[in-house]
């Protein structure tokens, strides 16, 4: 048989449960938390590599940069319209 006194049906019971929840939520990290944060920050800063800017660590930006490099570095022969190759104008005849 369940005990109806503990059911949070009434405001009082609900409030009591909320107080219990709040009391339970009080906590703190283990001692020397700052030292661990500091160690993590130092590790992240050293592994990140100082020679690359922060945005370069994001793969999406790197991929975009790669695509941009490909787009501007090629000679674009394949993309050139065929007329460019066929419209060869013969040089004017040299004056005699």
């Amino acid at each position: 048989m369940s005990n109806p006194a503990v059911r949070p049906g009434s405001e009082e019971e609900w409030n009591a449960l909320m107080r219990q929840l709040h009391a339970r939520s009080k906590g703190q990290p283990k001692p020397f938390f700052y030292a661990r944060v500091h160690a993590r920050l130092t590790a992240e800063l050293t592994t990140a590599g100082a020679w690359l800017p922060a945005w370069a660590h994001r793969p999406a930006y790197l991929a975009l940069l790669g695509a941009l490099m490909l787009a501007v570095s090629g000679d674009g022969a394949a993309l050139r319209p065929p007329t460019a190759a066929t419209s060869y104008d013969a040089p004017a005849a040299l004056p005699h």
């Binding site: 369940s2 503990v6 059911r7 049906g9 449960l17 703190q28 990290p29 938390f33 130092t42 992240e44």
Partner: protein, 211 residues
């Protein structure tokens, strides 16, 4: 000290150590943006409990909460230069703590699901999934077990409701502060809390039907 920003040494104690919270926080941010390690240490000391308990409320694991709290402070250090003060420092920290904790929980759930499938496929002999809880609601006793039941149902609330409920009942934030953290209106927070309480009370009352 491996911090990238130059450290500032001051002879007099900085005023963010005293004075009102808002003014103190504004000055603390200014010192952080200049790369002061003392300011960072003060920030961590001032907010570590709030950040940790917020993460703990959403994760219910001391190790995970510690991990999230560390992540939050590392992110603060790395991005404080871009902090423009549109929100208060505490709002920003609560926002980071809740979003990081929810991200963490999603990753944990995905990992748990993967472990469950691998255990089903028999890749190893360990039972990695949590066995289902067959305890009948009648078996739940008062006090601690009632609270445990409540915590179980809080974990099943939709994310926004869970964050609002946690910030209200565990961190005791005002409706305005919760609205700022969730970047929404006070009436939206009221609605989130109303729905969360309704769901929780319904679940906690339901065992009486079996009596």
């Amino acid at each position: 000290m491996a911090f990238s920003l130059p450290l500032i040494s001051t002879l007099a104690p900085p005023s963010y150590l005293s004075g009102s919270a808002a003014a103190g926080d504004a000055e603390l941010v200014a010192h952080l943006q200049q790369g002061s390690e003392a300011a960072f240490r003060t920030l961590v000391a001032r907010y570590q409990d709030r950040v940790y308990t917020t993460a703990f409320s959403l994760l219910r694991s001391a190790e995970e909460a510690e991990d999230v709290a560390q992540e939050v402070f590392v992110e603060v250090y790395q991005t404080v230069a871009r902090f423009r003060g549109e929100a208060s420092l505490s709002t920003w920290l609560y926002r980071l703590a809740t979003s990081r904790a929810l991200q963490h929980r999603r990753r944990l759930k995905a990992k748990k699901r993967f472990a469950y499938f691998t255990s089903l496929l028999g890749f190893d002999n360990q039972v990695l999934h949590e066995p289902p809880d067959h305890a009948h609601p009648l078996a739940l006793l008062e006090g601690e077990q009632q609270l445990r039941l409540l915590l179980n149902h809080i974990d099943r609330l939709p994310s926004q409701q869970q964050v609002a409920f946690t910030l209200r009942h565990e961190q005791e934030l005002s409706y305005e502060e919760i609205a700022a953290v969730l970047d929404t209106t006070v009436s939206a927070v009221e609605s989130l809390l109303f729905r969360a309480r309704q769901t929780l009370r319904r679940h906690l009352q339901s065992p009486s039907r079996h009596v």
